[in-house]
């Protein structure tokens, strides 16, 4: 779909990305770019391959082929720990809060991968509940607090591309608004975000560009300011 010349200011370039779980072929040639400083979303129905795309970028899908370039360097062949060290921060769909660690330990767990990350004080200023509950067991937090913790812990690391997998899933509307405000703040600080979402209405409040994913491929790309003229298409793609 986007197979063509690379975007000059892309921080992440994905071309022809294929991925498999065992015998199941999940991604069938994903093509998209994420420009420096923008918030891009992968939108699509359940099972379209959005989460697998993030996992493939992070190197945690065992079999994958294609091109994944981050900041001009190929990362497709690297092990997950080295991919993270390039400056990618990953927030998994199930949040990945560790039950055997308290909130503070969860927050301090990911190592700093490059300079420029937030200090602990800055993180606490952005997420005050995490300071109040720093000695609680991580999984004892509410769903919204766990999501904040999952985002907060990668902000310390200095990662400049954040991969967020359905951060609003299962959260109350007021918490969804808070998460939206945080993503806008992160963008204002210059961070680049690739967001996987099923909630189109939320995605439209934070993103600059949307990639529509179906059957493991990007079938369309729509700029956020072009949504009004693309309503019918979106309805057909997503049922919204």
């Amino acid at each position: 779909m986007l197979d063509g010349p690379r975007v000059a200011d892309a921080l992440l370039t994905v071309r022809g990305l294929n991925a498999w779980y065992g015998e199941s072929h999940i991604l069938h040639g994903m093509d998209f770019d994420v420009r420096r400083g923008e918030v891009a979303t992968l939108l699509g129905r359940n099972g379209a391959g959005k989460s697998t795309t993030l996992k493939s970028i992070m190197g945690i899908v065992p079999r994958r082929t294609g091109i994944v370039d981050f900041d001009g360097r190929s990362i497709i062949g690297l092990p997950a720990n080295r991919i993270a060290r390039q400056g990618l921060g990953y927030v998994p769909e199930e949040r990945g809060i560790f039950a055997s660690l308290n909130v503070r330990e969860n927050l301090l767990l990911p190592p700093v991968v490059r300079p420029g990350g937030m200090t602990l004080d800055e993180v606490h200023a952005l997420f005050p509940p995490l300071l109040e509950r720093s000695s609680s067991q991580g999984t004892k937090l509410s769903g919204g607090e766990q999501q904040m913790l999952a985002i907060a812990r990668i902000l310390r690391t200095g990662a400049n591309l954040l991969l967020l997998d359905e951060p609003t899933e299962g959260l109350a509307p007021v918490i969804v608004q808070q998460i939206g405000a945080i993503i806008r703040q992160l963008k204002a600080k210059g961070l680049t975000v690739l967001l996987v979402e099923q909630n189109f209405h939320f995605a439209a409040t934070v993103a600059d560009r949307h990639y529509i994913v179906e059957h493991g491929r990007v079938i369309d790309a729509i700029d956020n300011d072009q949504i009004p003229v693309n309503r019918q298409k979106l309805q057909a793609y997503l049922g919204v």
Partner: protein, 295 residues
């Protein structure tokens, strides 16, 4: 002399001390097993052989190089850990994605090979290893005689368990380890080199076994089967404490040593089976073990 519940105090406290000594070995060995199982998902049946190798390396160093007990306490665990690291790199690494049973079979086979090799070379009669002179003798406490070396074994094993617990609960490395036990893939996706951490954890667990082996050398004779006799009981201890529970395996190790000692006083016929009876009861009531989390 006074009696306690109809038992002469020397007999009671003597057996309690023996129980505590056994408990010290159970605790250090089951701690290593729990660490390895937690992160690697491998039931390390080679643990008994690695304990025996610790004792043998100490004995060999004394015999052929004149290196005494104190350096051996450090050097022997390091040597055996290096052997363990080679085993992990070459063999265990291939099994992580398979069922527990494969790891158990491989490590059981390795234990047979290692013990068989030592038996072939050194025979089955034990090799004596003298108590270092600083720790010989003992104290008359009035109600019992306390051999210095046995007190040292209890203290050294407590220190090893406490040190390991602090490392796991209070350090950043320990946080990686706990998190890796829950979700190694995610810890790796944060930038932590999990394969190296797994290798070092196996090496550390094996080093603990070898450390226990060096401690045991002056008490029991150094012989190729010293580990295989102990490992079955240690597995029962791990099952009772809960697979993968660090604190559980330490507390259960000492407690079961003491219970075994008391059984020797009150009903000696049951002393060799009491731990297995407790294991059966625990499995019936709380299959995940006393300190384990049900999954």
């Amino acid at each position: 002399m006074f009696e306690l519940i109809g038992i002469p105090p020397q007999a009671l406290f003597g057996q309690l001390l023996l129980g505590l000594i056994n408990g010290a070995f159970y605790a250090v060995l089951s701690l290593g097993l729990a660490l390895i199982f937690g992160l690697l998902n491998i039931i390390n049946f080679t643990h008994g052989a690695q304990y025996m190798m610790g004792a043998f390396v100490a004995w060999l160093m004394l015999r052929y190089a004149g290196i005494g007990y104190w350096p051996s306490l450090i050097v022997a665990p390091v040597v055996v850990a290096v052997v363990g690291i080679v085993i992990e790199r070459l063999l265990l690494r291939r099994l992580y994605h398979l069922d527990h049973l494969y790891g158990l079979l491989l490590t059981f086979g390795l234990a047979l090979i290692i013990e068989g090799t030592f038996r072939q070379i050194y025979g089955i009669s034990g090799q004596p290893y003298a108590i270092p002179k600083e720790l010989s003798g003992g104290y008359d406490l009035g109600f019992m005689f306390l051999p210095t070396y046995r007190a040292w074994v209890v203290l050294a094993s407590l220190a090893a368990c406490l040190g390991t617990w602090l490392l796991i609960e209070k350090t950043r490395l320990g946080a990686y380890l706990r998190a890796g036990t829950e979700n190694a893939t995610l810890v790796r996706a944060f930038g932590v080199n999990v394969p190296v951490m797994v290798t070092l954890t196996y090496g550390f667990g094996v080093a603990l076994a070898a450390f226990a082996g060096v401690l045991a050398a002056p008490i029991y004779s150094v012989n190729p089967l010293m580990g295989s006799n102990l490992i079955i009981v240690v597995f029962a201890v791990v099952v009772i404490g809960g697979m993968g529970s660090i604190l559980g395996s330490v507390i259960t190790g000492y407690a079961l040593g003491l219970i075994e000692g008391l059984t020797k006083v009150f009903y000696p016929e049951a002393s060799s089976t009491v731990i297995f009876i407790i294991m059966a009861i625990v499995l019936l009531i709380k299959p995940a073990g006393l300190f384990g989390r049900a999954t």
